[in-house]
Symmetry: C2
Subunit: 360 residues, 2 copies
């Protein structure tokens, strides 16, 4: 690293993040500026680590508000801690910049600081590099958390026949946000997975402003479910965050645990109905089906999805209101993800083709 | 993440790195495949963290051998652990790929595995993303290490008047490697910091093959000084790895510790002379001065540079042979980095202008 880079790091990262770091001096005795940062998890605690990269043009539009980008870069990583039931300790930031834009850096740092403060997660180190490619902005955050040594971390392999499947938030909401943002830029065709845009056009026309706002908010500023993750420590078995679309996410649990997972369409629709009763009440059958597809295949939601034994039902129901938690299905013997269709009283689930988003 | 990405991660990262991870099951109870990896430093130990990004066209030529790139991506991070006196625990890998090239991935994974095995540092997690930019390859590694809680971590702020300054390796060697590699590609002008290429042309003409090989090796496959870092735990005060050019690196210590640091040119030349006596013996005054400039301003060496109290002299001299360690100068009252010129018996150091490499 050289002088300009040091100035930049000092001004936009070391200084504004200094007080938060200083207030964590016991857990982070050495922060930005040395070869390594030092971290002290509390005695008897295990460390949790996750890393996620956001690449311009792949994970966000180049013209996205830098505050939102700063928020999201840490949010998607904190969401992994949440899905492991870990408490945040700190994070490192690796930033590749095509240019030095002080205004952009100021706002990016602002959004990043806001979420870091919200979750008491100090910036402990990083690396800023120049890329020669215009539009080559990319952001890699590595986040550190802790949990008592006895906590399992909710591995995907721990779902068991007879567990309930629970979900949190509104699966598909971020996908609607993405479609709205793409539409605004005349780019609907590049992100639409459903070939028929007529349903989308009708849906969009009748979509209340409140839905639009929440959908874009969910896409750009997702709320990592750290508090819920901590409350699930003695309740959940396998848990993950819904980043790749519900069906793909749940397939990971099914595969790792060698079980079948049944998703009830009606539970998904009910969740949407609770959030937006008037709007959902007006949708016709095609539109509801479109919304269900969105919920099953749209990524970037960063809600939690987990399995739990029936003995956890009462406790989970108490958490359900404040955290928008709902029962989504069940774990059975078998393999893969199955879907129980709307209004189908019989138990004849059909195998679900995995349709979640793929980069390559 | 979607299916192709999972296949790719399994084939090139999860499977080949599996045995190394499995042999670290106590320290890494949960590795690749869940939202977070879990790490258990040994009881009474502090965790050390560092992150470094390598960007195509900035930190390496796009046609660099992928084995070397895999090696270097982890090496530059392990070097930060070495400079903190920490023992490796594991690392995460965030890889942004413009395309899926199985042969490239195979060789990259190979080089990465080789250094991971050498330093017993398992891959514990990661994120693979697609970038839409041709040539947009970038690699961010975050490395984790540990040291007993009483170990200071050699912060840059702990140099004290009266300390000796020590260096390890051959400062400037990687810079010669870079010039050779650039030359081969007809790109000498893009990396030369010295405007006069006549000296370089003459130097290169007389450069033995052994020097060329070692220089390119130093550039492409640097050896992180983990063992030396561990042996320095009770000997060194401030320590860093020489990644930005010796003068810039030492300036960090001077600034953080509020001291002046004196570098003796003769000590640098002696180190080069010990390594290549015949070649250095033949150089004229201009060529020696060119080499000194290289040593002071050329980056990417990843040797260690540290201060130590005179009471550590005997122990450090015992380490000096096997680790190519040498006394480079001293810490005095004042500010900044000073240079004592060759053959100047008086103590009239001159302020050294910082000339290390800058991205921006």
């Amino acid at each position: 690293m050289a002088s300009l880079e040091f100035d930049l790091i000092d001004r936009y990262f070391k200084e504004p993040f200094g007080p938060l770091l200083a207030s964590h001096a016991t857990r982070v005795p050495l922060g930005i500026g040395d070869d390594c940062a030092m971290l002290n998890p509390d005695p008897g605690h295990t460390l949790f680590v996750s890393t996620d990269t956001l690449v311009s043009g792949v994970h966000f539009y180049p013209d996205v508000a830098p505050q939102d980008l700063g928020w999201k870069a840490l949010a998607v990583n904190l969401s992994d801690l949440a899905a492991s039931g870990a408490e945040p300790l700190g994070f490192t930031l690796a930033l590749s910049l095509p240019a030095l834009d002080p205004a952009w850096l100021h706002h990016f740092s602002d959004g990043l600081l806001r979420i870091a403060q919200t979750h008491r997660c100090p910036l402990v180190g990083g690396d800023t590099t120049k890329t020669n490619l215009p539009g080559g902005l990319s952001i890699t955050v590595t986040v550190f958390g802790q949990a008592p040594a006895l906590h399992s971390g909710f591995p995907r392999s721990s779902a068991v026949e007879g567990h309930r499947l629970w979900a949190q938030g509104l699966p598909g909401l971020a996908r609607i946000g993405l479609l709205l943002e793409a539409d605004q830029r005349g780019l609907y065709d590049t992100v639409a997975m459903q070939p028929d845009s007529a349903v989308w056009t009708a849906l969009k026309a009748g979509m209340p402003q409140a839905v639009r706002l929440r959908a874009c908010q969910q896409l750009n500023c997702p709320q990592p479910q750290i508090q819920l993750g901590l409350q699930l420590r003695n309740l959940a078995a396998a848990c993950l965050d819904t980043s790749d679309g519900l069906s793909g996410d749940v397939a990971h649990i099914a595969q790792a645990s060698q079980v079948a997972v049944l998703i009830k369409e009606s539970a998904l629709l009910d969740a949407w109905h609770r959030a937006f009763p008037e709007w959902i009440g007006q949708l016709n059958l095609n539109e509801r089906q479109w919304l269900l597809d969105c919920a099953l295949t749209g990524g970037d939601d960063y809600g939690l999805c987990f399995t739990a034994a029936p003995t956890a039902d009462v406790a989970l129901r108490q958490l359900s209101g404040p955290h928008a938690l709902f029962e989504l299905g069940m774990v059975t013997a078998g393999q893969g993800v199955w879907l129980q269709s709307q209004g189908d009283a019989s138990l004849n689930p059909v195998p679900l083709v995995k349709r979640s988003y793929t980069h390559f």
